[in-house]
Amino acid sequence: MLRNRLFPISSSILFLLVGAPVQAQESAILHGVVKGQDGQAIPEARIALESPALFGPRILFTNKNGEWRAPLLPIGSFKVTVTKEGFDSTHRSDIRVGIGSNVRIDLTLMPIKSAVVEVISAHGAVIDKTQVNSGANFSAEAMGELPLVDRNFYGALDMTAGTSSSIDGSYIIRGGAATYTNFRVNGAEVKDDYANGLGATWAIDDNIEDAQVVTSQVNVRFGRALGGAVNIVTKSGSNTFEGSLRVKLSRDDWKARTPDTTADAKWADTLNREYNVTLRGPILKDRLWFAVGTILKPNQAWSNSLGRFPDEANAPMQTGVAGVDALLNAGPGNGYQIATFDNGKYYTETFDSHYYEGKLTGAVTNDHILELSFVDQKQVYSNDDASGQALSLASLGSRYNKYQMASLNYKGILSPMAFLEGRYTTSKTTWGQDTGDPAYGGQEGVYVQVGQAGAPDNGLQGFGLPFGFALGASPEVHGNVSAALNLNLAPQAAGSHDIDLGFEYFDSYTDNGEDWGKRSLRFDVGGAYYNPQTRGYLFPTVNYPNNPSDYYVYHSPDDGHSYGAAPFVRQALGPKGRAHCNQVGAYANETWTINPNIMVGAGLRIDTNKATDVDGRTMAKSTDPTYSFIFRWDPKGDSTHLLTFTAANNAGNFNQALFGQFTGKKTTVEVDRGWSANAAELGAGAPGQVVRFVDYQTLVDLKNYNRVVSFVDQSTRNVLASDLRPPRTQEFTLGYKRGYADQSRVGVTLVYRQWLDMWAQRWDFADPYVITVQDPSRSGLPAMQDITRRYDNSSDLQREYKAVEVEFVKNLGPRWSVQGNYTYSRLTGNNDDGDIAWGGWRNNDPTMGTIMWNPIVLKNMGLSPADYGASGTLANNQSQKARLALLHVLPLGKNGRMTLALMASYDSGKPWSARNYAAIDQTKWGTDLNASYPNLGVSPDAVYRQYYSALGAYTFNDTYNVDFKATWDVPLSFANVHFIGDASIANIFNVTMPFSTYGSFTNDSSNGRTQLFMKNPAYWGTSHVTGSSYYTAGRSAKFSCGFRF
């Protein structure tokens, strides 16, 4: 029946009403009621569920109320058959369930010999009233046929109401920071908790069975979601061999020109190829299935060049002592010349990658299923300048990024009313760096300045690493481990109950590896001389002066360069190890369907969060409750009209993105030392005693650096409040959903979400912020002053999300359908990022990085947070977002189809507010802070600024896109092989908009007046704009084709 075959396309996007109260994210529920023709419930009717995704039919019986319920179902399509003595059997086919789906199928049995053999409840299976989380589901078909951003996480996110792309390109859910969006594949969290991103592909598009976006997690079973979650389940095998081979093609010269394109620009005509291969089938029929896949990409190669020094780089060195300078610039003689290494030479870098994923699904019995899945991916850059500052071809090497995931899931039916799930997952990201020239063994890093060593920072120097990069002699590893156990009970007492009891353990960790080589040392030297005959190097040295400012021996340890002739070494003394943020949660969740019209639910979860430093020290520990409530009214009892109210308090967790700022690693404790091995000091003694040319081994001998210059100890700098706890959200929603008999549906949800207990960073030029720090190397250096950064949960930070979210699907006939969403929202407050990971006051100076609040001095001056962190629309506010997709399905042959999809997208521009700041009037400080803290390395008058954020809220340009995609699946005449593929054009009207028009206030140096700076004012509005990334992307095309069987 054409209609039944075609409708799943559009109806395959299901709107979750508010997630299955008892469902794991990787499974689904079917349930319903069996009644007779007279409307009376029929107990003891036999329900048989069949699906290619099941090892065998699932058999169950209706209870005394005619109800039946089948949890823990795999994702896929089902047939439900009901039989009862005295009645004709009846069935319902092609029932699609997605991740977390909770689909109701009501069936009516007719007496034997009745003319009607199948009657389905008029509005059944459209929307389900026992869902409690809100969001959207996307089947494999929907992901493939809609012209989405991609067929993976981001495509699903972009097509869901309540989401928006953030200013840094990642997606946020209901105003939550990207830090708090969870990404899971087969139950495993794959987001790098430290790098705060996905980093890699985690599922082959053709192997995705279903994707689910959870915008609001009302079921307390899952924690850590102050934003939301995206869950992907990959395809399992079955008793039939299936698979696909697809080649994806794109080409730069398929892109349209944009105003950014210069007149003489030429597109690369390289055809970018990627081959996706998937294969699924039985290993043991009805017992063990497999699914595997790989992505194959041809190796890529491109040309690069080493840094090129300016011609002036051979200018003479200066220290300010004439005799010394003459000696330095004469060089060591004996055939030694100023070394320029491989200045500017070209080289070819190559990129290679491999990707494998797999899944094994086994049945211990039909009621006990085990599932193991994995992803293994590696990207290798060869002949690569990992440091970005290589000076010699010999120092080029290989670096790699490795992404791995494994997930073990168990689903067991203990009895008709008791179900058990267990899960263990792990995912890991490994960054391996090359260590430079193998001849130097990755022992240490050596920065060499080539060229003029005189006037500091005059742009005439070249810096680089010709010998050892020593970025990380051992790789950096981030990852997580999780385990969970859930017992679901479904007793019948005064209605039906769904009770979840369980616990969840989640631990994310970071291992920062080594820094600056095996010795954790980085040397800076002001030049090098090379003898082409002996191929040896000599390096000029003078002792590091006791008063460096007296000479042109300027060292800047903080920016990593030595500008002078005195060598310098930074020793990293911090601890090495693995930092952890873990959460252990226990929960109970009950959903009580009192009668066909009313459902109430409540949940309580208690999490213990703990952050542990690399040395095992507990940095923060808290116990945090999450609780939720849901009330749903179904006035007709048939799920066609659902009115839902939810209230939830969601606790967050300590995560690596946050704690990476505080946890220890080698570079958190550093001591800087200057060269001291020469016979005489600068300005004292004969030049021959002051200057010495030394070889490499002498240069990197730590014994020659006994003049301690400065130190930093991050372990004393960050102070966490003893009662520090994760931020949390409170959310209230009121939703109305309407489902129709043709599987069309529409929903409107009002959302209010606020963030509480967000973290404030405070530091000040006052007690207790200023502390005395002892020399961590115990080298005799005098103690130093430092300013501590103190973190606590602050009620002064505000962030709120208010929205009207609309989602709809309309089936206009057997071949046409429309679907889309619209979000009207406001994200306001004074905390721009929703957490402190990279947060800042709204409209604060972005270069300041983190939230800064100088509570004592500013308060004493009568300034309030409103003065330096005004409230208003936040940077990620997107007031309007709309998606509208029109799909047309053409049947091709017996089982084939072509889908044409057109999607219009509208995204309103993000806000920008003219901002400015001024140094705060020092006369109001009361005391001379500059004089009070002379040794801090930073002046109070450079820190205290008063911000002016209320100069107006503007919006960047809105963006409009119309995208087209044609997808085909054509059966061929042999061996059940289908020809598949798609062709898509993004932004077919080539609407390109400048998205960054405004700049900021700045001072005009010519007259000292404040003026508003606008980007490229001279060129704005003309057809060609210099600068990159100034316009939105132009039209582009993609194509893929292949076979499935």
Binding site: R738, A918, Y948, L951, N957, T1010, M1014, P1017, G1021
Partner: protein
């Protein structure tokens, strides 16, 4: 085959508020709206978005009245405004160093009242009035300087103008099925537009240009108001509850 008049009656009465009891005479619905307005006036974009909640009340067999609470939004594109003539005695702004960047938008929360009369085969005609508050917003950011630097003006603001608007509309409705209808309307969208006017080189009236955060006001700075009527084509889909 039902006659058109009966189809309308079916649409209006049989599916009236089925969820909330016994067939009340009011049929609720949710409307999603997209529109096109080609006029370049006020630099508003050609697109229009909107949504609303409506109630239909059947009057006899072929006529129905509709009330709707609706929100509409017309975004604008960023544009570079023409620089005004300089103040007396001043030279014109240097175009390479001066700019005035603006963006407008129009939105409104309105009540729409209309009458619907059935035609044939699911088609109906409708017409009515949209009344409510329209709000026009202009974002402007300007920096003007002449080549001799005898003046340098910086100005910015986000003024809004709310006005009671009355807009007529008329169009067609097609019942896709009993659950929903497509609509095509022509609407004359009335509103009050504002446009900031600044004379380069005019005397500074208030504010201190050397003080950050100081809002600068120059002699002659003002908002020009214009009453507008903007023609738009609306495409709507109405989900019947």
């Amino acid at each position: 085959m039902l006659r058109p008049i009966h189809r309308l009656t079916l649409a209006v009465s049989l599916f009236s508020l089925p969820a909330f009891g016994a067939e009340p005479p009011i049929q609720l619905g949710l409307v999603l709206r997209a529109g096109y307005s080609p006029a370049k006036q006020d630099n508003l974009n050609a697109s229009l978005l909107g949504l609303g909640v409506s109630g239909d009340y059947a009057l006899g067999s072929s006529l129905a009245l509709r009330g709707e609470l609706a929100y509409f939004y017309t975004p604008g594109r960023t544009y570079r405004a023409d620089l005004q003539a300089p103040a007396s005695g001043q030279t014109a702004p240097d175009p390479l160093r001066s700019a005035d960047v603006r963006k407008n938008k129009l939105e409104g929360l309105v009540l729409r009242f209309s009458a619907i009369r059935a035609l044939s085969s699911g088609w109906s005609i409708q017409g009515g009035l949209q009344a409510g508050n329209s709000r026009f917003t202009q974002e402007y950011v300007g920096n003007t300087i002449n080549s001799s630097r005898s003046y340098q003006d910086t100005y910015n603001g986000v003024p809004t103008k709310s006005a009671l608007s009355l807009s007529p509309f008329a169009g067609l409705q097609y019942d896709v099925d009993r659950d929903g209808a497509l609509e095509l309307n022509l609407v004359g969208l009335s509103y009050k537009a504002i446009d900031f006017r600044h004379t380069p080189g005019a005397l500074l009236v208030s504010g201190d240009p050397a003080k950050p955060g100081s809002h600068l006001v120059y002699a002659g700075d003002h908002l020009e108001e214009q009453s507008r009527m903007r023609l738009a084509i609306e495409f709507s889909y109405r989900f019947r509850f």
